[in-house]
Structure formats: structure tokens, C-alpha cells
């Protein structure tokens, strides 16, 4: 297990390095640069600003320098929000995205797992059709439709929740964006749980339990849930990484100061510093989440444990 983890960690480092390199050269290959606006900056001034950030150096030098800085843990200064360290920008935005992501994921699990279980237990019944229909809607409706509908209904008309804004200590401001963000995931989790549960429910040990007279709910929760969650858990890890790294759509609809807007702005304005750092952060999250998913999978599924197969 330790050996396995170590090798996964080293693989992760290689992936991060490749990601860094590819992102760096892709950003630099984009037309235009960071210091252009509707009103052109005079060439003699632009040249100086570029020199200030070392952008006048040959590409290879820039690359090696940035790599060296990253190894020292310094991703540099933002080019769009001039003078701000990238660490500060991400340090402000990531906790917001993370908090929103955790709430959204909680909603997704609270809705997805029970509804998946119920659907599996009442396979082809009314509850199954109902919850799977709901899940289908959740999968199909994009957040740029759900978000404005929720904001319009519960924000503007009913005034239950604010139509925009974010306050880390005021749960009212979390609800609408978290539901919007979590709904799609809830739908997937629900469908995956249902599939996993149905498969587990058809196993021999379930028949045995039934024959022995174990009550239905007990079979479902005590005997099947652990096995039935395996497909959902494999999905939840990467999905969590996606959710906490920010969503530009939801952040723009609800005015949330998260990672997504910085990321999109960084692309638009060729802010290579913020862009590379965000991509790396996202990469690290995906790697970690996959690792946790795998560990959880092993824990849930004894057949995967080495030496016991």
C-alpha cells in the first residue's frame, strides 16, 4: 500500500510537470499579450512593463525562470491585477470555491445517495421513475439555466435568499449557488448509486439474507450500501475536484469571488501567471481526488485489496 501510494505520488509530480510545461507554452502561443486594452499602451511604455515582468526574455529563459520560481514555491505576480501576488489572489478565491464546493457536494450526496437507494429498492416503481426522471432533468439542465431560474424565483420574486453576493459566514448566501452547482452532481450520484445498488441487490448474499428473514431496509443499508456505492465513489472524487476549483457560470450569475472568474479572466487577458497557477491547482486537486477515490474504493471493495483476491 505504502509503495503504491509513493508511486502514485511520483506519477503525480510527473503529471504536474507536464501540465506546467504544456500550459506555459500554450499561453505564450496565444495571440496578443497581457498589456493591451481598448486604449493602446504606447510601445515605449509597454516594452518597459514587459521588461519589468521579464516577458522580454527569450521563451526558454522565461520558462526555466518560472519553473525555478515554482520549485521555490513562488508563482509570481499577476499580470492583469498588476502588483498582486498570485498566491494572494488564489489565497482569497480558493477558500470561497472550496466552501461552496463542499456545500454543493453535501447537497449532491444528501440528495443523490438516498434517492439512488430508494430508486434501486423500488426498481421500476413510481419512486424509481420519479427520482430517475428528476435525475435526468438534473443531468440535462445546464447551470446557466438553473442558476438564473433559482435567482429569479427565490432571489428576486420571493426574496428568500439574496439574488447575488457571497458571505462566508452567512449561510443564506450559499444556498442558491450551492444548489445550482450541486444539482447536476446529485443527478449523476443518484443514477450511479441506483445502478450500483441494483447490481448488489442481485447478489447471492442478498437472497440468503432475505431467506433468513432480514428486513428489507436492513438489507439495503447494512448489507448493500457499501458495495452499491462503489460506482458513485469513483465518480465523486474527480467531480469534487471539478466542483471546488470554481465554476465561472455560477460565480458570474451569483457574484461569487471564487476561482472560476479569475481563471476565465486570466485566459482573456493572457495573464499567464494566474492561468498557470490555476491549472496546476486544478491538476493537483484532480490527482488528489483520484487518489482518495481509489483508496475509498479499496476500502469499500475488499476484492481490490492486494493478496486477498
Amino acid at each position: 500500500m505504502i509503495k503504491n501510494l509513493l508511486s502514485r505520488f511520483l506519477q503525480g509530480l510527473v503529471v504536474m510537470f507536464v501540465l506546467f510545461t504544456i500550459t506555459f507554452f500554450l499561453v505564450k502561443a496565444m495571440p496578443g499579450g497581457p498589456f493591451q486594452s481598448e486604449k493602446a499602451i504606447p510601445a515605449h511604455i509597454k516594452a518597459k512593463i514587459e521588461a519589468y515582468y521579464g516577458l522580454d526574455k527569450p521563451m526558454g529563459v522565461q520558462y526555466l525562470k518560472l519553473l525555478a520560481n515554482y520549485l521555490k514555491g513562488d508563482p509570481g505576480l499577476s499580470l492583469r491585477l498588476e502588483g498582486r501576488p498570485v498566491t494572494q489572489i488564489i489565497g482569497e478565491a480558493f477558500p470561497v470555491s472550496f466552501q461552496l464546493g463542499v456545500v454543493a457536494m453535501s447537497i449532491a450526496l444528501l440528495v443523490g445517495i438516498p434517492s439512488g437507494c430508494i430508486a434501486a429498492a423500488k426498481k421500476n416503481g413510481l419512486l424509481d421513475v420519479g427520482s430517475m426522471g428528476f435525475a435526468m432533468v438534473g443531468v440535462c439542465l445546464p447551470s446557466f439555466v438553473i442558476g438564473p431560474v433559482l435567482a429569479e424565483t427565490f432571489g428576486r420574486s420571493l426574496k428568500w435568499f439574496p439574488a447575488m453576493g457571497w458571505n462566508a459566514s452567512s449561510p443564506q448566501t450559499w444556498i442558491l449557488p450551492a444548489i445550482t452547482l450541486g444539482l447536476g452532481t446529485a443527478a449523476y450520484v443518484s443514477r450511479l448509486t441506483r445502478a450500483g445498488m441494483i447490481e448488489t441487490l442481485s447478489q447471492d448474499f442478498v437472497r440468503t439474507a432475505k431467506a433468513k428473514g432480514v428486513p428489507g431496509w436492513k438489507i439495503l443499508i447494512r448489507h448493500c450500501l457499501r458495495g452499491g456505492l462503489i460506482p458513485a465513489v469513483a465518480y465523486i472524487g474527480p467531480a469534487f475536484a471539478g466542483i471546488v476549483s470554481g465554476s465561472v457560470v455560477i460565480e458570474s450569475i451569483f457574484q461569487i469571488p471564487g476561482m472560476g472568474r479569475h481563471f476565465i479572466k486570466a485566459i482573456e487577458t493572457r495573464d499567464s501567471s494566474v492561468l498557470i497557477a490555476s491549472v496546476l491547482l486544478y491538476g493537483a486537486l484532480v490527482i488528489l481526488a483520484n487518489l482518495f477515490s481509489d483508496i475509498a474504493g479499496v476500502w469499500l471493495n475488499p476484492r481490490l485489496r492486494s493478496g486477498k483476491n
Binding site: I175, I253, R261, R270
Partner: protein
């Protein structure tokens, strides 16, 4: 985890049902104005920014020489200066500062030296302030900002035997901007210049940065791009180089000027005869100077705070961070959370604090105007930045009490690349311009905008004739005259161009133009690009036709006309005209204001006839505003003095 989340959700729902007072109601009580500001400022340092969102925040925490009048664009109430005078030809101005103004940290009075320091800083070649051009009105400011050391030193008589005029012809640091990259970067003419030397020259640091062999090469090599004038004497060249290359050249030679900073020597036209007198000398008559000084590039900065954190030329120091910045305006900085809000609070030691009715302002960076409109209607904002054009009709019907539609000094236009075949023909450009049904576009797509027949909107006494108008028949005739009847050329091929638009820009406008040009037989493909690519395609003249816009910085035609001169970074058409520039130059030295405007009108007419651009709409600001916010009147530049705003529910 799950259980705690569940209880959280429940408690939220409970909390939500208790929410009775809207944010606007609470803000009304606390006298805080909640404003949609479009975007976050890039920074708070007035010397490092160029945009509109910045101007709103900076305008709240700083104050210029001349104030903004809440009701009139052309009234000049006193600001940091109580009065000002000028000489008859508007080239020399004296501003008398108010003696009771203090910086918001209450550590120092606002004195004339703070203004001079601010201009010195923005113009400092090493600061590389992107909007230094706004100070080029000041005498000698451009030479100092562009680090034309040869000219500055020669003018000061520090280069033996070299006059200022000669220094200009020596063309040292004064290489035209465009050639810097092309010639220094790539030219095979520079084989001996090592890469670092080339780069140093390219960033225009002056010859100071060059090493001895490079200087020798410049001095002696026949391949040098520094084309010494034929009549220049060797000793003049040597004197010039030693004077310039104070450090890197011959260490034994005595450099004429050791100082890095030539501000004093350059004699930039901003001086402080005493603490409360600012003397401003201009390079040309500027009768509209009071209007210019309302722009943040002309604001003072606190010398004592900037220097506490670093040198005058340091690009970033903590001085401009939200928690340290000190201003002289009616408000002072409270907090700035990125992508969330910027908060300012009333500055109690502002000289006119007794008449400031607001306790603070909160600027929200909302780029999604649908969300902004929704938040306004949900009671979260007092004023929005913009109503999306497709919502204007609905708002008009359902919420007429909130809708404001006001003119703005901003023009939408089509930019032609006159270096492209077809578009190099003025008749074809005119035909394309004549075929744009401006009224249709404004009526059906751009709600509130008005048809534009010229680039400069009417402002003050300047009311240019509307020349570029819709005339389909004339457009067809013009095409035929150009040799393209019905859009078909002599070879039978139709005229075909691409139309560049910006992602997020108006797809509808581009499609309308596409169909309008179809009517005269011109085919157009729409090319949509993200912001960065859109800008760089225009700057590199890598487009045929583009839809663009321009917003004035101050109320004078120059803010719309100067950009169409040769080499201007905002021209991007490939067009320039000696006659046009001649007219602008004549206007610049003209001291009679009405004569001056007449010359601009002539220049404008020429521009429309040559048609490197086809203006089509004067923009309007459609936004929402709550009626309880008083003291907020239509202003062309949209610079509402927040000190005059009050909340009166």
C-alpha cells in the same frame, strides 16, 4: 459531515425566512450607496491604471484641482484648487490650492509639491505608467517620459558643442517606437550588438545601459542605425555619447550628468513656487485644461506615503494597497475584496466633509449585467452599471421609475483596414459606410443609442455636422464608380471581406451589417474572437473590417481625433493623412476657442470623407437607479461627484 450539513441547510432556511430588510433598505438607513461598477479596478494607484471602473473608485478617494459639478459637464467648481488663472494664450496656468486640505491619514497638508511629485512619478520613465500620455500637455513632459536623454541634456547645454536641434537630428533614444522592435530586435544591421544590449535599447533605457564595445560600435560602425548627421563632428558624437552613457562608457571620462533622473533637468512644465501655488506650463494652448485636470492622471498623490514605502519610480509598493492607500478625496478606502466589492467610507478630515451626505460607498464588480439587473430589482443595489440591451424594453414597461437613459461620450464605429485590397479604395469604403442603416440599428438593436454620422459626439460648443449617413442608392452608385457595380469587379468576382467582432460583443449588430452590405453586393464573413485576440488582430492590422468603440476621456474633440494620426497606437486602420494632421496641428496652436473648434470640424469632415472609419452609433448609458438617491444627474462623462449625492428615502 452529512448530519451537520443537513442541520446547516435547515438553519439557513430558517434564517432566510427572517430576512425582512433588503440590503438597499439597510444601506438607506446607514447612508451607504451601493453601486454596480462593471468590473474590479486593476489597481488603486492612479498612475498604473487606464480604465473606467478605476476612475470611479479613484474619483471617490482622490480629488483633482478642479471639482466635478453634479449637474453640468462644463461647470468647473473648485476642487483641491480654490481658483486658477491663465495667460491670454492658455499656455501658462496658475492654480491656487486650498490651505485647509489634508491627506486622509492627517499627517500632512495637500500641497503643490504633491501635484508636482505626482506628475513626476507618472512621467518617470522607469515607472512605465500606461497613461502618461495624458500629461504630455505639460511642456517637455514627452521628452522626459520617453527618456530622450540626448535632447534633454543638449537643451540643458550639458553636451559640449551639441545644440538641442542637433540632438534631435542625432536621433538616439528618439527612435520611432515602431522601429524599436523591428530594427533592433531582428535587423541584420546589428550583428555586433549582443542580445542583452539590443534588449536594453528596445526598452529605451537610454545609452546608459550599453557597454563600451556597443557604444564604440554605434560611434564608429558604418552599419549603425544611428545615422549621424553628415555635418556632425567626431567630437560632437563623442561628447554626446559620453554625456549620455554616464556609467557604461569610458569610466575615466567625466560624465556630464550623473543623475539617473532627469526630471529637474528636463524642465517639465509643472512647478511649485510655494506650498499652495501650482504653476503649469503647457506645450500648446489648452483652453479646456480645467476639464483635463479632472482626470485621475492629474490628481495628486501623497508624497509622504509613496516615499515611505519605496522610491518614486517603484512600480509596486504597499502604498497603493487597500489598507495603506491615502487620498485627499471625500472618501477613504475601507476594504477591497477581489470579485466581491470595494468599500470606501466618508473621510472626516476632507475639507468639505460637512457637506458630504453619504457615509460610504460600496462598488460591486458585476460583469454579468443580467445578474446586476436582477440584484437591483431584488433590492441589493442603488445604481447599476448597465441594463442589457434586450432587457431595456421590458424594464421600460415594468419598472419605468428606475430606468435612466442618458447620452455618453462614446461612439460605436466600424474600422476599415485600408491596407487591404478593396478597402484601399476610398470609394468602396464610402459605399460600405453609406450602406449602413444607422437608424435601423439603433431602433432595433442598440436601445437608446442614436445614429452617428461622425466620430465625435456633440460636446459643449462643438457640434460637428453629421456627414456619414445612410444612403443606399448613393452607396450603389459609389461602388459602380469604384468599378464594382453590384459589388462585382472587372473579373466578375464579388467583393468579400471579413468582419471582426469581439466575443461578448454584439452579434446582432454584426449580422445586421452583414445583411445591409449584402444589399450592395458585398459579402462579409463574421469573425468572432476573444478580447485578447480581437485587440491584437487590430493592432497588427490583421483584419479587414472590425466593429469597435471609443470613449472620450475628457470633453474636447481631441480625445476622439488625435488617435487617427500616424503611428498612434489606437489608429489601427493603416490610414493617415498629412492634411488631417496639419489641421489638428493648426487647431493645437490656435488660441481662439471658436476658431479652434472650426478647425476640428474641418478635420472631422476630412476624416469622414476619407472614411478609414464609419461611425454608426453614439452610445447611451442605460442603467437602473433608485429614486431615493438624489443629486445624481445626467453627465456626459458619467463622473458623478459622490460628495454631492445623498440618499433621501
Amino acid at each position: 459531515m452529512l448530519r451537520s450539513s443537513a442541520s446547516l441547510v435547515l438553519s439557513c432556511l430558517l434564517l432566510a425566512s427572517c430576512q425582512k430588510e433588503t440590503e438597499v433598505e439597510r444601506a438607506n438607513r446607514e447612508k451607504i450607496l451601493l453601486i454596480g461598477n462593471g468590473n474590479d479596478p486593476k489597481a488603486l494607484d492612479p498612475h498604473l491604471v487606464t480604465g473606467v471602473p478605476e476612475s470611479k473608485v479613484i474619483g471617490a478617494i482622490f480629488e483633482g484641482l478642479v471639482g466635478d459639478d453634479p449637474e453640468s459637464d462644463t461647470a468647473y467648481p473648485p476642487g483641491a484648487a480654490t481658483s486658477w488663472t491663465h495667460n491670454p494664450d492658455y499656455t501658462s496656468w496658475t492654480f491656487h490650492l486650498r490651505p485647509d486640505a489634508r491627506w486622509s491619514d492627517n499627517l500632512a497638508p495637500v500641497v503643490a509639491q504633491d501635484f508636482v511629485f505626482a506628475y513626476h512619478r507618472l512621467l518617470h520613465p522607469d515607472l512605465a505608467g500606461p497613461y502618461a500620455e495624458m500629461l504630455y500637455f505639460l511642456k517637455n513632459a514627452e521628452d522626459y517620459n520617453k527618456n530622450h536623454r540626448s535632447i534633454i541634456l543638449a537643451r540643458a547645454g550639458l553636451i559640449p558643442g551639441v545644440s538641442e536641434a542637433q540632438a534631435k537630428t542625432f536621433n538616439l533614444e528618439g527612435l520611432p517606437d515602431k522601429t524599436i522592435k523591428d530594427d533592433l530586435g531582428k535587423s541584420p544591421k546589428w550583428p555586433e550588438l549582443s542580445e542583452p544590449n539590443r534588449r536594453r535599447l528596445a526598452v529605451n533605457k537610454g545609452l546608459d545601459a550599453l557597454d563600451r564595445p556597443a557604444l564604440n560600435w554605434i560611434l564608429e560602425s558604418p552599419d549603425s542605425r544611428f545615422d549621424w548627421p553628415a555635418d556632425s563632428l567626431p567630437e560632437q558624437r563623442i561628447a554626446l555619447l559620453t554625456a549620455l552613457a554616464a556609467k557604461a562608457a569610458d569610466p575615466t571620462a567625466t560624465p556630464a550628468v550623473e543623475a539617473e533622473d532627469l526630471f529637474e533637468l528636463a524642465k517639465v512644465g509643472a512647478t511649485s513656487p510655494d506650498d499652495y501655488t501650482l504653476q503649469v506650463d503647457l506645450r500648446e494652448p489648452v483652453p479646456y485644461l480645467p476639464g483635463i485636470t479632472r482626470h485621475y492622471t492629474w490628481f495628486p498623490v501623497p508624497r509622504h506615503v509613496v516615499l515611505q514605502w519605496g522610491k518614486i519610480s517603484d512600480r509596486f509598493t504597499p502604498w497603493s494597497e487597500a489598507r495603506h492607500i491615502v487620498g485627499n478625496g471625500p472618501f477613504k478606502m475601507k476594504s477591497w475584496k477581489l470579485n466581491d466589492s470595494v468599500e470606501v467610507v466618508k473621510n472626516p478630515i476632507y475639507w468639505d466633509a460637512a457637506n458630504v451626505k453619504l457615509n460610504g460607498l460600496k462598488f460591486y464588480p458585476i460583469e454579468n449585467y443580467y445578474s446586476e439587473t436582477r440584484a437591483f430589482l431584488a433590492g441589493q443595489l442603488h445604481t447599476t452599471y448597465q441594463v442589457p440591451p434586450d432587457l431595456v424594453d421590458r424594464i421600460k414597461k415594468e419598472y419605468p421609475q428606475y430606468l435612466r437613459q442618458e447620452p455618453y461620450v462614446s461612439t460605436s464605429f466600424v474600422r476599415f483596414n485600408v491596407t487591404r485590397p478593396g478597402l484601399d479604395n476610398v470609394k468602396i469604403r464610402q459605399a460600405l459606410s453609406l450602406a449602413i442603416n444607422r437608424k435601423d440599428i439603433c431602433d432595433t438593436i442598440l436601445e437608446g443609442y442614436t445614429p452617428a454620422g461622425t466620430i465625435t459626439p456633440a460636446m459643449g460648443d462643438y457640434k460637428p455636422a453629421q456627414i456619414a449617413v445612410y444612403d443606399l442608392e448613393k452607396a450603389k452608385a459609389m461602388l459602380a464608380e469604384a468599378g464594382y457595380p453590384d459589388g462585382r469587379g472587372p473579373d466578375g468576382n464579388g467583393l468579400k471581406f471579413s468582419l471582426l467582432i469581439r466575443g461578448g460583443g454584439s452579434q446582432a449588430v454584426s449580422e445586421a451589417m452583414q445583411s445591409m452590405w449584402k444589399k450592395i453586393g458585398v459579402t462579409v464573413d463574421i469573425r468572432r474572437m476573444d478580447f485578447g485576440s480581437y485587440i491584437s488582430a487590430q493592432q497588427n492590422l490583421d483584419f479587414d473590417i472590425a466593429i469597435a468603440g471609443w470613449t472620450g476621456d475628457y470633453l474636447d474633440p481631441t480625445t476622439f481625433l488625435l488617435m487617427w494620426t500616424e503611428g498612434n497606437g489606437n489608429n489601427n486602420t493603416g490610414w493617415h493623412s498629412a492634411k488631417f494632421e496639419g489641421l489638428l496641428h493648426e487647431a493645437a496652436i490656435q488660441t481662439d476657442p471658436s476658431q479652434r473648434l472650426a478647425m476640428f470640424a474641418q478635420a472631422e469632415q476630412l476624416l469622414m470623407e476619407e472614411a478609414p472609419i464609419a461611425p454608426f452609433a453614439f452610445q447611451a448609458r442605460n442603467y437602473l437607479h433608485r429614486p431615493e438617491v438624489k443629486g445624481w444627474h445626467p453627465l456626459l462623462l458619467d463622473n458623478h461627484p459622490y460628495s454631492a449625492v445623498r440618499i433621501d428615502p
